[in-house]
Symmetry: C2
Subunit: 298 residues, 2 copies
């Protein structure tokens, strides 16, 4: 068991301090990560064996993506080695068997003190749903229902507008959280965002994967503003080796309802099959679903 | 002087605890205000006389607007009386003469502990610019230059899409901060956001006010997603009593360059006249500028 286990097993570590108690306040009131959501994060999967030995899946890929987010925000990210040391210390202190999520967070730092980014991480067990939040990476069933909700912008909104921070995993996720609450209000589990010109984007905390026969599709990054999904990329790599075609292209919303299968895909929970969209049952080909889960390494 | 003055005079108070040291961490690593920008804020002007007696301008209006933001987010805001007591304690501990900003912040609370919102406030002197951030309410000159930058959505994007949180002062302000940095890169001080269909919105931390002759215009709330500006409303009230017409209507971007005067307007810094937009000098009628500053009570 983790040394810090009141409620959901949850571990906190802060760069420059190491592992701290999970209930200890760690961020000042003028930290721009809090006051403006001005920072970025990345989430990786943690797998802990029954003996309590934990490992992080593809840590370097997540550190690379975090560094790319930080660059887009003009925040100086700590060197990978500093993050790796902090992660190693945290993982050594983590021993809750099963699945967990490592979340790396980096903020611009304090507004009214000399500039210095705040870097911290959490590891959270995926054994129980959050008591607090609707929009979390809470342990999901392997299938979900979803609704489509507009993101309010056209599919090319982020082209040539870097200040809109397309593709950046920022700490400003309030709309993602509100959209997930709207899905629950409509009796569904999750969301596929759509553009004002009628294309599918991604989910609030997940990438989108669409199967049509032996072709796997996902939304392109760039002008759409969506985040690159490391897990979609990993699935596509494995699927191509298995004879699938893969493409990134704009997917009209109406084609979602007739696809052979749809998934929302994230590092923490892997691919989750969508069984109904906007109340309409989806095909959800079981053989495809099994294959995709395997490609994702789950 | 404030009892807490390392660097910029800055005071912190937390609901349930009262005034704490300004460098003391107050927020846990899994607070959704930090991890998702899932919360709201409001800012009010604080005026402190030479003897050190401070008062907050229009506190109840700001508490009402904070409560409206909280409702839109499904966060239970503390009663006004609880906020008023905390503000009174903070104001009693604040004695730095001159202008300051009170910022009230409310988050959804911790993700991995039982749900309970986090409520805190800061008071920050406006005597010196922030050492850290580009996008702040740092003390501004009474005139600024600005650039127009797209917000990436059409002018009706927020109609019938409450999950996009139009009009809500959320803690997810990373794009506002990035746009302000883009303005600095272009040699300007601030930003007027625009829609993809060619209308003016507001600034990253301020409302927009436009004068054409004896008519004052500002952007309508609702489908545009912009925040209601209490200071724009106060200016318009005073201006009408002085013979001005006032209207909320969509303002085509090209009409900004030929207006008699443009201002960005916020509670903290009042109306600030824009002297050039996208490098083009603006008329900036001095008599109008003087009148508007007076209407705002600055």
């Amino acid at each position: 068991m983790s040394p810090h286990t009141s409620g959901v097993p949850h571990l906190v570590a802060v760069l420059g301090r190491g592992v701290v108690g999970p209930d200890e306040p760690v961020v000042a009131a003028d930290d721009l990560g809090l006051t403006r959501g001005d920072g970025c994060f990345d989430s990786a999967r943690v797998v802990t064996d029954p003996s309590g030995t934990a490992r992080v899946v593809d840590l370097d890929d997540h550190l690379d993506r975090l560094a790319a987010s930080a660059r887009a925000l003009d925040i100086a990210t700590p060197p990978h080695d500093a993050w790796r040391s902090l992660v190693a210390e945290a993982v050594a202190a983590w021993s809750t068997p099963g699945e967990a999520v490592l979340k790396l967070m980096l903020t611009r730092g304090r507004e009214w003190r000399p500039p210095a980014p705040t870097a911290l991480l959490t590891i959270t067990h995926r054994g129980a749903p959050s008591p607090a939040a609707a929009a979390t990476d809470a342990p999901a069933p392997r299938t979900i229902t979803a609704v489509t909700l507009t993101r309010g912008h056209p599919s090319d909104a982020f082209a040539d507008a870097p200040w809109l921070l397309g593709g950046v995993k920022t700490l400003s996720y309030v709309v993602n959280a509100a959209a997930t609450r709207e899905a629950k209000r409509r009796g569904a589990d999750d969301v596929i965002f759509t553009t004002t010109d009628g294309f599918a984007l991604d989910g609030p905390t997940a990438g989108l994967l669409v199967a049509r026969g032996h072709t796997l599709l996902s939304t392109p990054t760039g002008g759409t503003g969506i985040l690159e999904s490391l897990t979609v990329a990993a699935i596509m790599d494995a699927a191509r080796a298995d004879g699938f075609e893969t493409r990134f292209e704009l997917i009209p919303v109406e084609q979602l309802y007739t696809a052979d299968a749809l998934w929302l895909v994230s590092s923490g929970r892997g691919p989750v099959l969508i069984t109904a969209l906007d109340g309409r049952p989806l095909r959800g080909d079981p053989a495809l679903a099994t294959a995709i889960t395997r490609y994702a390494g789950f």
